[in-house]
Amino acid sequence: MINTTLLTNQISTILAMAPDTTASVLSQTPTEIGTGPKWILLIIGLPMLTSLLCGLYAIIGNKTKLPAWTTVAGAGIAFLATVAMYLSFDGTPYTVHAFDWIQVYFGDKAMIANFSFYIDTLTIYWMLFVTGLATLIALYASEYMSHDVGTSYCRFFGAFGLFVFSMACLVMGDNLLMLYLGWEGVGLCSYLLIGYFYKKPEAVAAAKKAFIVNRIGDLGLALGIYLTFVHFGTLEYAVLFNDPTLLGYIEAAKTGNFEAIPAIAQWIPILFMIGAFGKSAQFPLYVWLPDAMEGPTPVSALIHAATMVTAGVYLIARTYPLFLTSEFALPIVAWVGTITALLAATIAMAQFDIKRIMAYSTVSQLGYMFAGLGVLTPTGGVYHVLTHAFFKALLFLCCGAVMHGFAGQLDLRKLSGLKNVKGWGIVTIGMLIGCINLAGVPFTAGYFSKDTIIAEAFVTPGTSMIGWILLFTAGLTAYYTFRVFFRVFMGPVEYHPGDEHHDDDGHDDGHDGGGVGGFHPHAPGWAVNSVLITLSVLSIAASGLYFVGGNKEAHTKHYAQTMVMSSTASYDSPYSKHAIHAAQESNDPNAGVGPRGTIDKALEVPIIGGDPHKMMYYISAVVGIVGIALAWFLHLFGRTNAAECKMDPIAKRFGPIPKMAENKWYVDEFYAMIFVTPLRIISHIFHWIDKLLVDGIVNLFGYLPRIFAWIIRPSQSGILQGYAVSMAGGLTILLLVVFVIVMQGGVS
């Protein structure tokens, strides 16, 4: 039970604190936090420099692969600098100042947002995989994009460099406006890269959709930032997260006492959340991500799978203290993530385009991360980001290799048995490694990170439903993942080339020998293969992170947790076993009390008679294997050609449901009907109102003199005597008036 006296005390302390906190906040200067060495700016500056160099190459008409090598070198050095930053990090966060950006002073107060960077373990964690993957994918793209060598090649790598720069600003910025700069910057690069094949109307439409849907989220983020500034008076992390007001709110929130926190503060995370949903493609703003697959595959791998779409997770992790102060924000995050995970998984099951399946699986996995953040385990969410980044990049790059080799063919009904085609061994192995991670096969990285989230959902009070849904979704994930693998890479050898619609200049020269239908697939070269090998190794190695890097003192079990717990995202769930034990040992009456209510110690073990963290290892392993087995039975067992399998007759039994899932549950059409069309009608109405009413009134004023003239015009007869008569008449009247006035004694 909650100790009411203590609670009231806390409220009164908080309330007493509130009025005079502002002064103390403002007296805190950001210089309290140490400054770091300037070479860290290399991480930001180099990608920008490579981007500018690519622009220069475009101007001078470079026709070699120089842009790719420049970008690989730039991103590579940035990665090395990140590693150096990691190795030299001593545990205390610091900032690095590049230059002043926006500063407005009013009286003794100020709004400051500098071009500065905030380095803590969360930043380092994120930057390590951002720059690392950027290097690898740039290397991959050097080969993948090679038939576009020339201006387009420069354009691609220019935008690529700009993306890495923006992502670095997003992750490393030391204030919310810098985060917003990166946020919009990655949005721009995403726009430019999705629309890379700008002659294709679908690519242009997808790019536009991505930017606009993201902007809706950005609005939420922007408003949240403004509210943060207005409420806490600062935008800088270093000041914000040490703000006594905020700390007071968190203290109140820890015992679920949300009445003590003003509504304004509770709105901030809800607005941030909308931004995160847009950028990380969560329901209801996820519709742009599948369409974004119109971009070149390296872009899909880097931006739309591994890095940019995790920006929403980063945002929530970074501002986790703010999220804790809201009663509804985290539950909404959890539920939205769960619903997205389930919804996207069902859609992925019914798709035939392998790249789109991967896109929906990204949406689904992002849903897991959000659910993790929502059920009070930022560690789980952030850990899943890392593992997912590796295996999803790997999966996308494998799909890209397939697409590249088979002239744009992505339909899993037209590809089969690639395992046995010469030169595709590495791709097959890479794909398998990616698939087992995604499916959550035991002892893979994906297995561990997903389990952390699901188990925590069972621990936190009131969210066990989320746990069950996520567990079910895990089964679906295993099914659709291996559906792709079994159909495309296993089974009888059969392939039909695509219509090469992703390549403008085509490369059908040299494809004249052998193969099915006279088509000869074009096996990946050394750059692609080496990247695939590296990523495969990293994906496997990521599972090792679950066993290393724990810190006994900080009660952290593994690497990701250590990194998260020493950053602003640090949050120790009060429902965890060790937290309850610790509270009980110190006779804290609040043992088992947390923002989501009180956990009954008897129910500490809610499922199947074991600690959820332990039980989850077994349960989710079973779920994953069942999913894979189903996929094997339905899609591989007894399949004789690429197009048909055991699933087809079963799918028919479900009636319209598979068709609806294939058409993405008609969400796009729904949005078009509910939002776009009415808004467009309103716009047309406004257009006509503007033309007829607003401008009409103006024109009416213009016509008024004319109308008046039209009324009095007949008096102008044109006859001379007429004028003379009116003149004489006027004179007479005037004289009469004067006469009357004089008769009455004149003017006084």
Binding site: A709, I712, R713, P714, S715, Q716, S717, G718, I719, L720, Q721, A724, V725, A728
Partner: protein
Amino acid sequence: MEITLAQMAFPEALPAITMAHYLFVSAAMFVMGLIGFLTRKNMIVMFLCTELMFQGAGLALIAFGRHHLAADGQTFVIFVLCVAAAEAAMALALVVLLFRHKETLSAQAWKELHG
């Protein structure tokens, strides 16, 4: 009662011509001119009528000037006469031109300026 100039020269011969007489004549001239201007259509006659109105006004001016023993009235009338002369020259020329256009002296023939 003030003694007028005429009374000074011929004290008994004539009855006293007072200010009122002059004004009466002047008003009569003006009204005749006005009526003529308003009723006649012939442009030359209308012009003559305006002249008549001018002179009526001029007579009143002279009478008042004499009455107040100030030269302003007369001076002004000299101006009016000059202007009237110039005007006559212009107006008659215009009338001739207008006549040439329409072959009529009627003022009603010219009403293009109606609204």
